[in-house]
Amino acid sequence: MDTNLQLLSIFQLTVFLCSVLMHILRKNSSLILIYLLQSLSVALMLLILGINQGSISLILVGMITALVKVIGAPIFFSRLINRQQLAISTTTYLNTPITLGFILGLTALVQSYIFAPIISLFPQFQQLMAFSLSGILISLFLVINRRGVFSQLIGILSFENGLVAFSTLAGIEQILAVEIGVLFNILLWIVISSVLITLIYSHFGSLNTTEMNKLKD
């Protein structure tokens, strides 16, 4: 098997496994570490493909991704949870065995005939695309299943990592300005959501979404 393909497989599987691990871990600091690992895998995928294809823009995007998501975001989040002393992530709606069952179900769903047309678009990366799509859906499930706003934040960022991995494998390369635009958006998103988390904690004294029940019909 081609070395580059082997490396891509390893990193894509890492992205997928990180999205699964996020469901199991409860400490916010652990979530940040897993997100760091996931983002590193995505950045390395971009770099490998960039080097393989001789694409300067992909290499540049990989480096900026590493800067924003591997270095910047984890430092930002660590300071946030230390400042607010948010050590423990809150509970989930479903318990761990049922959560793992759902994760298995989502992975099986992607392997089914429903998603077969999408996966078959990429004959050389079929299994990797399947794991990529599974990772995306599992990250979405994290946002739904977790009661903590910080976990939801990480879930959305994990979803975004899954999308980047998917689009990288799919060979969707836009002009550099567009790629940087997407990254800038993500950077802004991280900053804004972190400020909002601070506001939430100051108003509700908790990051549990069940405490936020001021708005009702």
Binding site: I114, F115, P117, I118, L121, F122, I136, L140, V143, V149, Q152, I156, F159, E160, L163, F166, S167, A170, G171, I172, Q174, I175, V178, G181, V182, N185, L188, W189, I192, S193, V195, L196, L199, I200, H203, F204, T209, M212, N213, K214, L215, D217
Partner: protein
């Protein structure tokens, strides 16, 4: 050049706001001049497109008939809301509810919000469209949490999370479209046009799935049920001028990429697939909105659910097809004018009664006569009473529905009737009855009366006489869907 003006004007206004940070008059007038410049540019663009069918700036920006209509609506609503914001924020400053710093922030964020919307309307690239719509989410989060109350913060979080998830799904759909189309397109910069040009070569099964992601994703931004739960919270918690832009302009902008992808998808799998999906989501949304309107305790939430209802009607128009497409586009124009006016007027009611609760607003006609008369006019317009344009557009949509889906149409008519009675019950309670308390009678300033008056005047004018240029734009936009 005109498209550049649309984008540069708010950027300049933002820079001026940052430089003259302590001079509120400069900040206010720079925002107003920027919005006025955008309105002028939008009128010229619409006129050009009506004559020439499209207007381009390099390969990166373009206005066709569909986007020209939305550019016009957005600039009108934006201008009125910025003008209203001047009076509204001055009143809040006077009462000590807000400080100078917060007021300044509101203008910066409004300018960035308008910039992001116009970028989304004029770009030719689906990914830049996505970036712009995501940017509208980011620029409005702190406008929704503006008053820094627990309810506003909660609304802002729901808005951010639900819209972000929706836009991620839309991004997934976009990537799938691009993955299908890229092998056939020999260009570094992918545009809507070149995806459409290769649409006959695309895999129908994949495109069908991708469209579902697009509809659910961007449909979240439009406030379609069941992805709508953020909308009543966000639109009711934001300051009234912001609610006006959110309901009157942003919802349409969320719909634009859905319509663009619909055109592409229809070429691949035929019209029935997208139409059936539109009808499904349209019916769920309108039924949900009709029952929710009855239960509302807040007039701003009432207006927010009305927005869900009207976007559902627009979607149904596109779903029914034929005359429904023309009517759907017409409905977008009329709804934007009426709804934004109503939110601005709700701001006057909020300033006077200092409460969003319907039960705390009694005898508004006595205290705010001009606002109340305009509010009643807006209510009649929104509930589809003739001779307002919304009656005509809804009538055409129902007519289209009877021709193509006769068993769905009674559900829609029933929901619309329910909405009228729900609205009537709430509005009549607010407008009439004995005044309570010691509030002084009278409006606050011309800034809080003239903008909604202008919007409603334009609505009435367009209801009676639709200018030829707009008719041409509508007809040409309909042709885009019948390729």
């Amino acid at each position: 050049m005109l498209i550049l003006i649309l984008l540069i004007a708010p950027a300049i206004a933002t820079i001026i706001t940052l430089i003259f940070r302590n001079n509120l008059k400069v900040i206010e007038y720079s925002a107003l001049i920027s919005a006025g410049t955008q309105l002028t540019a939008a009128l010229l663009i619409a006129n050009t497109v009506a004559g020439a069918q499209s207007y381009s700036l390099l390969p990166y920006f373009q206005a066709d008939s569909l986007s020209a209509i939305l550019i016009l609506i957005t600039s009108l609503v934006g201008f009125a809301s910025v003008a209203y914001n001047i009076g509204y924020m001055r009143e809040e400053l006077k009462r000590g509810v807000l400080g100078q710093s917060r007021t300044r922030q509101s203008y910066i964020l409004i300018n960035l919000f308008l910039l992001a919307m116009f970028l989304g309307l004029t770009t030719t690239n689906p990914i830049i469209t996505w970036i712009s719509i995501e940017a509208t989410t980011l620029s409005t989060v702190f406008l929704i949490s503006f008053y820094n109350k627990p309810s506003a913060t909660e609304a802002a979080w729901k808005y951010l999370v639900i819209n972000s998830v929706g836009l991620m799904l839309a991004f997934l759909g976009t990537i799938i479209y691009l993955a299908c189309a890229t092998p056939f397109i020999h260009s570094d910069f992918i545009t809507w046009e070149n995806i459409l040009s290769v649409s006959s070569s695309l895999n129908p099964d994949v495109i069908s799935m991708a469209f579902i992601f697009i509809l659910i994703g961007y449909g979240t931004k439009v406030g379609l049920a069941p992805m709508h739960s953020w909308l009543p919270d966000a639109h009711s918690q934001a300051p009234s001028p912001i609610s006006a832009i959110l309901s009157g302009a942003l919802l349409n902008i969320g719909l634009l990429p859905i319509l663009r992808f619909k055109i592409i998808t229809d070429n691949v799998v035929g019209q029935n697939f997208t139409q059936n999906l539109f009808i499904f989501f349209g019916v769920i949304s309108i039924v949900l909105a009709s029952f929710a309107i009855f239960r509302q305790a807040s007039y701003k939430r009432l207006l927010a659910y009305s927005s869900i209802e009207h976007m559902a009607v627009v979607l149904l128009g596109f779903g029914f097809g034929g005359l429904g497409i023309y009517a759907g586009l017409l409905h977008m124009i009329y709804h934007s004018l009426a709804k934004s006016a109503m939110f601005l007027l709700s701001g006057n009611i909020l300033l006077k009664f200092e409460s969003e609760k319907i039960r705390n607003v009694v005898g508004a006609m006595g205290l705010l006569p001009k606002t109340s008369i305009l509010f009643i006019i807006g209510f009649l317009a929104l509930t589809g009473v003739p001779p307002f344009g919304l009656f005509l557009s809804e009538f055409y949509i129902i007519l289209a529905g009877i021709q193509t889906h006769p068993w769905i149409t009674p559900i829609v008519v029933f929901a619309l009737a329910l909405i009228f009675f729900g609205f009537f019950k709430q509005i009549s309670t607010m407008m009439f009855g004995s005044m309570q308390g010691e509030e002084t009678r009278g409006e606050y300033s011309k800034w809080t009366v003239i903008p909604p008056l202008i919007l409603l005047s334009i609505l009435i004018f367009f209801s009676l006489i639709l200018p030829e240029q707009i008719q041409t734009l509508l007809k040409n936009a309909v042709l885009l869907f019948n390729q």
